[in-house]
């Protein structure tokens, strides 16, 4: 019982610290939860899964992985409690993998941050004009009547389903600009699929996407580094002197190609 209490207070303390170390942009009024399915290899069947929160309030939103948020909070609390690395590792493995990126949207700009292994980066870009093309097709998602819209973004063609019954011009990832909330969006290759899986009224601080330990970078450079991290075993921290990977038989597989599909090509 005491152990649980300690974790609770450690959690609370660290949460307050996190709030204090990052700029607060406002307070949310709604939280939308999106299930995300994505591929890393176009030749393989099946998807990786993630779960994202879109916290929205006063024309500002924050999009981040729920899995990564829980993992990060657990890791920080357990490290503060002096737990053994192997124990923490086992605890974190249960959550699976969550994407590290955070996207903060305001009417003027998008702030994107990501952690590539241990290196933290962020970039800003003006709010994109998606030039949505509205279609007549309709469907129902979670009981909401939806209309189809298509746009091109980041080198992919995206199909969105939005509802005017939730008059919030926002959606998963960087997408927004429709006359209602985007409930489902996918690219034409079906490599990335975001679909609303729940919503609630929720008042939480809308934190900036980056903190003091993030490095500013331009988008083009970020995409280059990110691609190398996921395909070439590149470590942007510069701390690694040598690196090898061996498989279960002990064979060196360092140079074996790792498939990766970026959500944005440029």
């Amino acid at each position: 019982m005491n152990y649980k209490l300690f974790f609770f207070f450690a959690f609370l303390f660290l949460f307050c610290q996190q709030v204090a170390s990052q700029d607060t942009l406002g307070t949310s009024t709604h939280r939308f939860q999106y299930a995300c399915k994505y591929k890393r290899d176009s030749l393989k069947k099946g998807y990786y899964n993630d779960l994202f929160f879109l916290d929205w309030g006063d024309n500002t939103s924050r999009f981040y992985s729920r899995i990564e948020y829980l993992k990060d909070s657990t890791m920080t609390a357990m490290l503060a409690a002096g737990e053994n690395i192997a124990v923490i590792q086992e605890e974190l493995r249960v959550y699976g993998y969550g994407k590290k990126y955070v996207i903060v949207k305001t009417p003027e700009e998008i702030v994107f941050s990501d952690r590539l292994i241990t290196s933290r980066f962020y970039y800003k870009e003006p709010a994109p004009d998606f030039q949505w093309s509205l279609k007549q097709d309709t469907c129902s998602i979670l009981g909401y009547p939806c209309q189809k819209a298509v746009c091109q973004y980041g080198g992919r063609v995206w199909t969105a389903w939005f509802t005017t019954h939730i008059p919030i011009s926002d959606g998963p990832y960087k997408f927004s600009g429709l006359p209602g909330l985007i409930l489902r969006i996918s690219d034409e290759d079906q490599f990335f699929i975001f679909e609303l899986s729940g919503m609630e009224d929720c008042q939480v601080p809308l934190l900036q996407a980056y903190g003091h330990n993030y490095n500013k970078i331009d988008k083009k450079r970020y995409l280059q580094i990110s691609y190398r991290v996921w395909t070439e075993n590149f470590d942007p921290s510069g701390n690694v002197k040598s690196f090898r990977v061996r498989d279960v038989q002990g064979r060196d597989v360092t140079d074996v190609n790792i498939p990766y599909i970026p959500i944005e090509l440029y």
């Binding site: 069947k45 099946g46 998807y47 890791m75 490290l79 974190l92 690694v240 002197k241 990977v245 790792i258």
Partner: protein, 71 residues
């Protein structure tokens, strides 16, 4: 005097050089049997080690849930 300066320099430089030469070895064993062997210039914190492990586990292991209807 020159000898004294030289001696001082050696006393200062040698530990720095030794520190620069120092290497730390880490093995990150993933659940699918692949092991990443990493040599670094500095000792990693527990947080850094967990971040590396998380990355390699995702990079090398098939943690995906298969969807039979997937294209």
């Amino acid at each position: 005097m020159k000898k004294l300066i030289l001696l001082s320099l050696i006393i200062i430089i040698l530990p720095i050089m030794a520190l620069a030469q120092q290497e730390y070895y880490y093995a990150f064993m993933t659940t699918c049997g692949r092991t990443a062997w990493v040599t670094t210039h500095h000792e990693m914190s527990a947080e850094e080690q967990l971040m590396y492990y998380d990355h390699y586990e995702h990079l090398y292991c098939e943690l995906q849930v298969f969807d039979p209807d997937a294209p």
